[in-house]
């Protein structure tokens, strides 16, 4: 069969995509970084910062979504961030340092794994895995925090605050702050500190102060509210290191640009491995940073489907879910106009998901735009479907994904069957599941006499051990 995706890479913009051109810019597409190209031809993080034909307007709008819906008191610091990023993205010194840290500290590039056993079991499209779970700190979050922490240093700020849900962004932020010698305060909903106790301990070990937030629903959205309250009070010394591609402009664009390396690498890796582009790129979507990072390099490849998997919790029909685009409506939350979960009075509805990292009632504005123009599709994956997929990937490929990423796996398996053996489905495995073992132990009853196929023959193990010792 013809390499159907490749033909779309010639630079021609299809009529369907024309409306997607949000700004008439001619980005250089060439990084100002000074290091010689990698021997393997793969791009570097700095290549994500060159500007794209899909950048927002000066006001921060992707189509009808985005903008700056924030208190006047925060306009000054947000402007400061925007100016600093606008300069940094073209500054060779900044770009070289970002590339150096990404490779020598973060572990980039991350590989693409051919999931042969999973592919065989599913019996549909060939499934490939982009392995962001192999990054330092265990997820894609490090891509963004290294960039923003370097920006913090450039801006002369000494104190970093951040919100975290599952704790992955908190751990990554605490890590970057330890590396660069910055004071670090992490806001985390009380409920999340309890279900992600291990990550709280990791952040504290890394020297961060973790503040448990009791207000509102005591989850991620409330942690963000508290971080904004801190920022408005301490704006002159403090940088708010936002974890996802949401919030007021320029955060959705900046976080996306630091995460673009995922898709830039993966696109080249899939071409190198298979000689063609994937039929679909699949990622989980909470706020949406790993998804926009994975999707973005494929936006102009009209034949590549971009599919986001939202957290379905107990199912959309139950009302207990976090499927913001699939079942929400348009409003303003945390600085941006986007889809969100709200009641008819505009009160934000508490979201529900087994995955703390997806348990958020908002979503980044660029995803809302991609949904509105039909360039990306969004589906909903229930807790049960995600946990089944977590076990499936563990047993077929020996990869325990984060519960967040398991949502992508669950959706991709269905998609692979729909697409059939001719196609290729690329899954972004955004993080690893070590942090979720407590949830997994409870869900699969791994501790006791549960129904899983875990062997509980302790005496046999004991014998083996005694012989070896």
């Amino acid at each position: 069969m013809p390499a159907r995706g490749v033909s779309a890479t010639s630079g021609q913009v299809s009529p369907r995509l024309e409306q997607f051109q949000t700004k008439d810019v001619k980005p250089s597409m060439t990084s100002n970084a000074t290091r010689p190209p990698r021997a393997d031809g793969l791009p570097r993080p700095s290549d994500g910062l060159t500007g794209t034909p899909h950048d927002p307007t000066d006001g921060g709008y992707f189509g009808d979504f985005g903008g700056r819906w924030l208190p006047e008191a925060l306009v000054g610091v947000v402007d400061e961030v925007a100016e600093a990023f606008a300069k940094a993205r073209h500054d060779p010194e900044f770009l070289d340092e970002l590339d150096r840290l990404a490779e020598t500290y973060g572990g980039r590039p991350s590989p693409v794994t051919d999931a042969e056993r999973l592919t065989a079991l599913v019996g549909g499209a060939r499934i490939l895995l982009k392995r962001e779970d192999l990054n330092h700190t265990g997820s894609h979050k490090i891509n963004n925090v290294l960039g923003q922490a370097l920006l913090t240093k450039r801006m002369g700020k000494t104190r970093v605050i951040a919100e975290t849900g599952a704790g992955q962004h908190g751990v990554a932020t605490a890590t970057a702050c330890a590396l660069l010698g910055l004071e670090c305060v992490i806001y985390m909903g009380r409920v999340d500190t309890e279900r992600q106790a291990l990550n709280v301990a990791r952040m504290r070990l890394l020297g961060a102060t973790v503040v448990a937030v009791d207000s509102g629903s005591a989850t991620l959205k409330d942690a963000i509210n508290e971080a904004f309250r801190d920022w408005v009070t301490n704006a002159s010394t403090t940088y708010y290191l936002f974890g996802t591609a949401a919030g007021p402009h320029p955060f959705p664009m900046m976080v996306r640009d630091f995460q673009r390396i995922i898709g830039l690498e993966a696109r080249q890796q899939v071409l190198d491995l298979t000689g063609r582009l994937p039929s679909a790129v699949v990622a989980c979507v909470g706020g949406g940073s790993n998804a926009i990072g994975a999707f973005h390099a494929f936006l102009d490849d009209a034949d590549v489907r971009l599919v986001g998997m939202e957290a379905g919790g107990d199912g959309i029909a139950t009302g207990r879910h976090a499927s913001t685009i699939s079942a929400g409506s348009v409003g303003v939350l945390h600085g941006a106009r986007s889809f969100m979960m709200q009641d008819e009075d505009g009160q934000v509805i508490e979201s529900h998901s087994i995955s703390a990292g997806l348990d958020y009632p908002g979503v980044g504005p660029e995803h809302s735009h991609l949904a509105a123009i039909g360039r990306a599709e969004f589906r909903s994956i229930t807790d049960t479907e995600a946990m089944d997929a977590l076990a499936l990937l563990s047993r077929t490929e020996g990869i325990i994904p984060a519960i967040e990423s398991a949502h992508a796996v669950a959706g991709a398996v269905v998609l692979a069957k729909e697409i059939g053996p001719e196609g290729i489905v690329l899954i972004n495995v955004s993080g690893r599941g070590d942090k979720d073992m407590e949830t997994a132990m409870e869900w699969f009853q791994l501790n006791g006499d549960g129904p899983g196929t875990v062997t509980t023959s302790t005496s046999a193990t004991g014998n083996t051990t005694s012989k070896e010792s």
Binding site: G59, L70, P71, G76, D222, N225, A235, L333
Partner: protein
């Protein structure tokens, strides 16, 4: 001349500042909410701010957050706002709303302004809406004769103050400090400078809010501002009881007259 312009013209004529008291709507109870606003007006508030209890109040400190949660738990719905405002204006009181923007957007900007105007409300303070994003809201408020009241902060440069006052009607809300709502022991030193910078750009009355809780603080602010806005301290007083709320209003009302020599 709008109701707010009349109000500030009158207080300026008396050479004093206006006292502006805030409570969340539906607090302490939904049934007793309008009466509590009227008690504040009886006891010396020239204007009340009827706050919309919101799930995600990023500019509010713990006192107002907790009160808003109490009001929502007590069954507050957005449509209750207009009944409360109607009961205030029916008694001759003056009221503006204070609302985060998402509830207004959900209700529909035009419908919101229309229903507020019908209830006799005078304006709306929008703490998380900047003029840059206010196109729909400005059209709605203009169509229904409601004053859009925007905020400026100590961090606002001249250019932004200028753009903000251009679209503000009624009065300008100057945040006295960089931070969230909540009573403080001392009045911020940033407020006089901010008000002075605003005066160079506009003749609008200027209300100063964030952190005021005593008559002495009110007098200090009244020396340079047209309105003294008190929120968290009133909420705390109402939590104790109507008597305490009335006593605080009386103390603050004396404070805003502090610069006026006693009438002989």
């Amino acid at each position: 001349m709008s109701g707010l312009s009349e109000l500030f013209a009158a207080t300026r004529a008396q050479n004093r500042a206006a006292l502006i008291g805030y409570l969340p709507a539906g607090y302490p109870t939904l049934a007793g909410s309008a009466d509590m606003f009227n008690a504040l007006i009886d006891s010396g508030c020239d204007l009340v701010e009827v706050g919309v209890p919101y799930s995600d109040p990023v500019m509010d400190g713990p006192v107002i957050q907790a009160a808003a949660e109490t009001a929502r738990a007590g069954g507050f719905r957005l449509t209750d706002l207009f009944g409360i405002v109607e009961k205030i204006s029916a008694k001759g009181g003056k009221a503006v709303l204070m609302s985060y923007y998402n509830p207004i957007m959900a209700y529909g900007a035009d419908a919101f302004a229309r229903d507020l105007a019908a209830a006799g409300g005078l304006g709306v303070i929008t703490p998380d809406l900047i003029v840059d994003e206010a196109g729909d809201w400005l059209a709605a408020t203009e169509a229904h004769g409601i004053d859009p009241i925007f905020l400026v902060a100590p961090s606002s440069p001249t250019e932004r103050i200028s753009r903000t006052v251009e679209h503000t009607r009624g009065f300008l809300y100057a945040a006295s400090t960089m931070g969230v709502t909540g009573a403080r022991d001392q009045v911020s030193s940033l407020a006089p400078d901010l008000v002075a910078r605003c005066r160079e750009l506009t003749d609008l009355p200027i209300g100063v809010g964030l952190g005021v809780r005593t008559g002495a603080q009110a007098a200090e602010i009244a020396a340079f501002a047209d309105g003294v806005i008190v929120g968290s301290a009133f909420v705390s007083a109402v939590t104790e009881g109507e008597k305490q709320a009335r006593a605080l209003a009386e103390e603050l009302a004396a404070g805003v007259r502090g610069t006026v020599p006693a009438i002989s």
